[in-house]
Symmetry: C2
Subunit: 156 residues, 2 copies
Amino acid sequence: MVAGPLPAPSGPGKDRLRLWVRLLRASRSIEAELRERLRQEFNTTLPRFDVMAALYRAPEGMLMSDLSRFLLVSNGNVTGIVDRLVSEGLVARARRNGDRRTSMVRLTEEGSKAFALIAAAHESWIGELLGNVSEDEARRLTGMLDSFRSNWEGRE
Amino acid sequence: MVAGPLPAPSGPGKDRLRLWVRLLRASRSIEAELRERLRQEFNTTLPRFDVMAALYRAPEGMLMSDLSRFLLVSNGNVTGIVDRLVSEGLVARARRNGDRRTSMVRLTEEGSKAFALIAAAHESWIGELLGNVSEDEARRLTGMLDSFRSNWEGRE
DNA sequence: TTATGAAACTTCAAGCTTGAATAATTTATT
DNA sequence: AATAAATTATTCAAGCTTGAAGTTTCATAA
């Protein structure tokens, strides 16, 4: 699905196909670089960073199902990642009184401190990796992607 | 750092960070939808589709290392995916006279026919999923991503 | 030639990811 | 209350992905 070294395709719909290919290659390139740096500098992974980032914004904690919905991944997936974060002492599951099926997942104090460090590095990496996109261009692109998202939501 | 409803992040570099988050969410949403349809309609996966797409554009075949470089994935990864495609009869490894370390990987006739069908569906799915991005907007976005890519390449 | 190193590919362990199946609990219905 | 249905989370098998280590082959040079 990634673009090829051959004659540029043309015809109806080709512009959108080409856009998709560029979008995918860009996000894969950046993701790969972030993954590499997270591993080298902080000995962690992108999925763990994603979970911690979500929890960092929710000091009161999140349900497992909130996490999987927010991160766009499956329930079983989150279970495994949280398991590992718990075993590293970065995250804790807290029993709830109301509903015994669920538990609130939140960062431990150690997890919160660790994340703050990683997040600062992460933000500067993004600034570097997207350095040749001007802030103005970034805002315009973001706007386009927002309008895409608003039309996307409500699918399924 | 007061707890509570999180203010939209602001400050230097926040626009790029926000752009990255949107980019990632957009491509993950679309990828998830494509994966689901490939599974339901064609009983295949996105990585297999990617490999077949690359080979479809190279009738003379590709080396394993060409494939992994082109697809932005590791060598060992491609080995596994090609193994499965070979066992399904969609792809073949052909010995080369010159260099016995390598083999040319190419689509079988069956693989080529199968891919043509899937690719047609894939393109129409993209047209649908990106339907609310106008062709003109698609071209502009593509242009921005292209300029990003050209600055990106030459890293590492 | 023979050693040395580089290149192409595979194998492996660990982790990520999914969809399906299951278990536990809560909510709704009768 | 008793039953049925829906919700929440975990478990599981299969496949994807990586980085590192290992194998085979080729290229270079001493």
